[in-house]
Symmetry: C2
Subunit: 409 residues, 2 copies
Amino acid sequence: MTHADLLDRYAELIVRSGVNVTAGQELVMTAPVDAVPLVRRITEHAYKAGATLVTTFYGDDEATLARFAHADDKSFDTAPAWLFDGFANAFKAGAARLAIIGEDPSLLAGQDPDKVTRANRARSKAYRPALELIAGHAINWCVAAAATPAWARSVFPGKAPAEALDALWRAIYTCSRADTPDPVAAWVEHSRKLRQRTDFLNGKRYQALKYKGPGTDLTLGLVDGHVWKGGASTAKNGVTCNPNIPTEEVFTMPHKDRVDGILSSTKPLSYQGTFIEGIKVRFEAGRIVESHADKGADIFATMIATDEGAARLGEVALVPHSSPISASGIVFNNTLFDENAACHIAVGQSYSDTLANGGSLSKDALAAAGANASLIHVDWMIGSGALDIDGVLADGRTEPLMRKGEWAA
Amino acid sequence: MTHADLLDRYAELIVRSGVNVTAGQELVMTAPVDAVPLVRRITEHAYKAGATLVTTFYGDDEATLARFAHADDKSFDTAPAWLFDGFANAFKAGAARLAIIGEDPSLLAGQDPDKVTRANRARSKAYRPALELIAGHAINWCVAAAATPAWARSVFPGKAPAEALDALWRAIYTCSRADTPDPVAAWVEHSRKLRQRTDFLNGKRYQALKYKGPGTDLTLGLVDGHVWKGGASTAKNGVTCNPNIPTEEVFTMPHKDRVDGILSSTKPLSYQGTFIEGIKVRFEAGRIVESHADKGADIFATMIATDEGAARLGEVALVPHSSPISASGIVFNNTLFDENAACHIAVGQSYSDTLANGGSLSKDALAAAGANASLIHVDWMIGSGALDIDGVLADGRTEPLMRKGEWAA
Ligand SMILES: [Zn+2]
Ligand SMILES: [Zn+2]
Ligand SMILES: [Zn+2]
Ligand SMILES: [Zn+2]
């Protein structure tokens, strides 16, 4: 298939299986300016699916760099709250949300870490009203990727620019199953398999998971009434969507106060324009009390100091080491892909729909149940071919859940 | 100078002399995706000028066409109110506004006029809260242009695409004085000359203007306390800006109930993606009671039926026939340029700062003074080398103001 054919199939997959925009619904999209060709295909398919209006907000890495190069210091405590409030208002009025990502993973690598942190914090704070509606699954939403020259350069530094861009597109198509004969049907089947896994895990009612691997020895408590999720998921507005394309993970809610031990990252984390590598942390009663990183330690330390919830877990996710994304051998320098290549956890905001009835609980009730709250939600990879995980049953007995990174049951 | 040099000078001119974004101010920009290179230069100069944050909302003609080609009928009564409310909130919080235009003038020429009209009406209605802050000059704002392939093709249909684009950029630079040795200084001098003309007109206290030309025989009453404006103008936030680049007009407020006679357009009007040509209208007591157009008559009729104020005047503007834009001999198919090549009027919303104290009056008080209110503000060109205009003094005597399209006094 030509790139144009694949792009069109991928766009249709994102519209139909990803965000699943329904007739009469508005669609609010964000995308990098380099993604104009994909956005145009998505826009057409969204209108064909009955969207009343597709509104795209383009971001531009060059504009961000101009800000870091030339803006006054006080710029870095500023965020477009008026825009994010607009997003939240659109969601409240029923709009679906589609994020096309493809930013340069190391865009801000050379910038003042203090400015990076402050800008991220201001942005996270302003984005909170919109994020709560997404994290609470009030609406159907999806995150998918577009290959961009800067991202491709970062993934394939040895290739010529056009070749790198093409290789990244091909990898995206393959990981997203867009190059299969019937991508929409492939996603139905994929979702069915993830559902089998979540059904199995939900039946177990584990009270905790025990992780053992190089630099990792951790007991991670799960909230009572936790719900394992994965693949397609139904939002409160009744629309079933696939929030991530690709997705290989099953995930649930850790208890914010019941995590103890040490944990090491196994892949680089690209966090808003900088790389954080070699993370080692120690948890006590759910909180990170010691942290280290071989690279980006300052950014990491400031990230987990964003607020009280930023140093506690909001998500735990299991991905077999043999996942197709892992099998591709590519390190994407992008969480959407890399988190689906390895077991991971996220610090920060939890997803209330990974707790039974979580969507209808007050903030206080959620916190009492062990759900975490934060301005941030940052996934990092802890899985490898050397990771063993046990499940701790209600009566305290343990059983093997993963061995050497693969499902043991 | 190279195109890159000129683009940078033009961007700096837009930032410094146009919107004049001040230190500590946010900037909200809209632009076509084809204008990315200009927007990047503007963004850099805005940060250098002390902007805290530059946020650009890109529009895409292709997305608009996809909507007309594929969207369900009910789409055409929809507009992104959440976005425009966001703009209004940004302006209320102190942001400056910059609109970069460059759309295909005949983008929607082949589309169902009913859908075009409904989409425009929904958009105008949703945009109203933001428009009122701009029309009321609450903030510093500016409209400037970027050459785009589709616009260039429309202006220079005989030229090859690259040549047409280059010719349009050159015309934009020349009309904007960006190719003079010191563009910012050139604009200070230009504004001084326009100020001499507005001082002269403001001293006259004309109660009305009388127009005579081919197909035109009109008495146009001015509001008591009208203020002629032109060139640089100071917003209520205290910032002096040039709202249009280029600008050659001086303009003031007609009385919404005191316009009588017939009026003919002299240039094609590009109205939201379609052309309206050969407009002939008859006014009675301020209202258009008969209308005709050689082309686009349906769109025109629907446009002036948008609301009560859409068939009454909100602006009257004088431009000598020898203006540099007129002298270029180019018909730009774009109001920003063509209105500065000829005397024109606008139906719809009036600018409250063209009435003494208008900015502090209530809506009722503005209406009582003769100010017009509408969802739309559409300029069309009525000037030519064959137009004579007389001023009617307070005592009823008339005196020549323009003869054969040139200043007579
Ligand atoms: Zn995850
Ligand atoms: Zn996550
Ligand atoms: Zn005008
Ligand atoms: Zn006007």
